[in-house]
Symmetry: C2
Subunit: 404 residues, 2 copies
């Protein structure tokens, strides 16, 4: 750690975080796809444990959801067509895929560990702005992100409203609800109570805090699925007879009971995850997510977004309980209150939060059309029907931008 | 451990568990309220970490949800009126409130630990039957339980159908769904990866597996609440300034971020929990819950319940995502298929699963009236309207017992 990648790494010099602390040289690992023509830049913001490796044509030390995580959406001929757009994706500061974070070496030659400054989503946005300056990109055609990456995209509309023509937040929200705050807090506690975490100083130790990180990941994983998707995928089936609980201590009395498919799957995924992600980064990034509040420093979400003059697309999935359709509708309401052209495209899905990664056939078309034609894009739907000027499917009555 | 109580403890002799293993002398701690008149016995089944201390008039070494956990429902003049009924509640085998379990001494004088036989809900029911024999109670006026205690009550209708006149399952289900199986599995992994768990052998150690048990409890706690109740109770508020993260290791970088009310609450509750509950019992009892399947050994839930000739009441809460209203409706359908008089009383509630403990004003009246008048009880409602013979509010179309 940090994980080896062949991404480009930009050296952006001294960076002062929102907490007030600075580091001498912020390094941001990024990938860029396509050719920049001056007005075709698209910034893609990755999710919590994602990376800059948004598409498949680079080989990397990433894995799982950090590896080519949106290659069905981004690429030549794809919804975000890299023969048309110049697509940039940067690993956020605090992460572990090549950008500065807890696993990076401090000036004293030792890993920062938890001496690394606390990181906020605002810092992600500011670091991305600095990277784009470095790349010679001014105004963006679009910024798009899923999950906490969608929060990151929304933060762009608040922080650099003049720099973004189109904002897309997929399966995101203006802020986490207390249920998710609770689960994130429990996940962090799982890491910090792992004796191998050792206050965050474990990079040179024989044993990493893998047990705690595995638990944290498993808690997160359940948040990404839905009851329906878990029913379909696992049911109550026992895992195959060759599947045994062998990656962590177990209770001898457990052997009387089946090792279930759902347990086996989560255990397997957790084992893969702990090999690809840094425990301190997990602490840092979940804290950034938990802390994000679109309205911070403003009276309301609408006030925060008031200076934005582009167009906005919210996309949500009916089976998502981590970032709900109601939360996306609330963000859409804020844009509407500002008379920003906005569409809230709801996808009927059983996949839970993961839908934004695993349903490219539903995510791609509205994205493609929104990039070309904004909220009037053919495949873009809205919770407000612009023909009858009626009430939205969700949330309180409001005046539609498109009615009358 | 085991926790000291002043409950009566019945010595029930050799007991063979469903797994095939036996112990020499099953001890069951229980409390009995009221006078037995021959036909007025009511068995109350406690929830996962509950105890026999169902009402408040006994002083015990219990705490939290194990202490007088249904004292608003059970007592003189209450819905389950102890001046009318003889109410028995027994601590289930595998638990830690005085009944035989992992913390009990084995014949070699050392605690069983994980040498204690694996326990199933069927074993709970069979142990309760043995206790009632010991007390001279044959047929029960009613068996009632909430959460996994409701599963226990349903198991009575399968296992001893002739012994029960009325069955009440509150916030229960025929089986857990895979989402809950997953969270229970993660909770157990939190315990067994705590180095202090030590294969279940920690009773004489200086350090108990408190970190792991705390995590397990916190995961469970989130399952007992709902998004709405957490919004109302905590929002995203920071905890008071005197509240500090002081019960477990924390990340120095955490101090930049608020310690939220919801985290503080869960941390506080977890600290209380680890003082009152045994980690091995948590493993044993969650496994029993996960393993329960009403239809086990039968073709269907309806087939399992076919021999039952009493009346049944299912009660569920709309905000409960641990044991959903749809799951209770599914059990109601099974009873209906058997022509068992059944009512599914749905309570509109934001409280989540905890509603069965914290809404006595909603739980009491239907219970009281069902105990007196069965499904025709005045305060008992059903998802099937018996006047219009219409379709139920939930689930697929079926022929109502009360229609036509």
């Amino acid at each position: 750690m940090p994980v080896e990648t062949d991404a480009d790494v930009a050296e952006l010099g001294e960076f002062r975080f929102e907490c007030g602390e600075s580091i001498e040289n912020l390094e941001i690992a990024y990938e860029a796809y396509g050719e920049f023509t001056g007005d075709n830049a698209v910034l893609v913001c990755h999710a919590l444990t994602g990376s800059q490796n948004v598409a498949s044509h680079r080989t990397q030390g990433t894995a799982g959801q950090a590896r080519a995580w949106w290659s069905d959406i981004v690429g030549p001929g794809k919804a975000i067509d890299t023969t048309e757009y110049y697509v940039v994706c940067a690993n956020v500061p605090g992460s572990c895929y090549g950008s500065s974070g807890p696993a990076s070496d401090a000036p004293d030659g030792e890993p920062y560990g938890t001496r690394f400054p606390p990181v906020s989503i605002g810092d992600w946005t500011r670091a991305q702005r600095a990277l784009l300056d470095h790349l010679g990109v001014g105004r963006l055609h679009a910024v798009v992100g899923g999950s906490v990456g969608g929060m990151n995209a929304l933060d762009w509309a608040v922080r650099y409203p003049d720099d973004v023509q189109r904002v897309v937040a997929v399966a995101a929200a203006a802020r986490l609800d207390p249920q998710c705050l609770a689960l994130d807090g429990i996940a962090r506690r799982a890491i910090t109570t792992d004796p191998n975490w050792n206050g965050g100083d474990y990079y040179d130790a024989a044993e990493k805090p893998k047990d705690g990180l595995a638990l944290a990941r498993q808690i997160g994983h359940v948040m990404y699925l839905s009851k329906a998707s878990m029913d379909q995928k696992f049911g109550r089936r026992a895992a195959g007879r060759d599947m045994v609980r062998d990656t962590f201590p177990s209770d001898p009395a457990a052997d009387f009971f089946p090792y279930r498919d759902v347990e086996s799957y989560l255990d397997y995924q957790a084992e893969k995850f702990v090999d690809r992600f840094d425990a301190n980064s997990y602490l840092y990034l979940t804290r950034a997510m938990d802390d994000f509040d679109l309205s911070e420093g403003y009276e309301s979400d609408a006030a925060a977004l008031a200076a934005f003059e582009g167009e906005a697309l919210l996309m949500s999935f009916t089976g998502d309980w981590h970032f709900t359709t109601a939360q996306s509708e609330s963000v859409a309401e804020a844009f509407r209150a500002d008379d920003v052209p906005v569409a809230h495209h709801v996808v009927d899905s059983d996949h839970g939060h993961d839908a934004f990664l695993v349903e490219p056939e539903n995510v791609g078309p509205p994205l493609r059309d929104f990039f070309h034609d904004g909220v009037r894009g053919r495949a873009v739907t809205d919770t407000v029907d612009d023909d009858d000027g009626g009430e939205p499917e969700f949330a309180p009555v409001h005046t539609s931008l498109f009615s009358g």
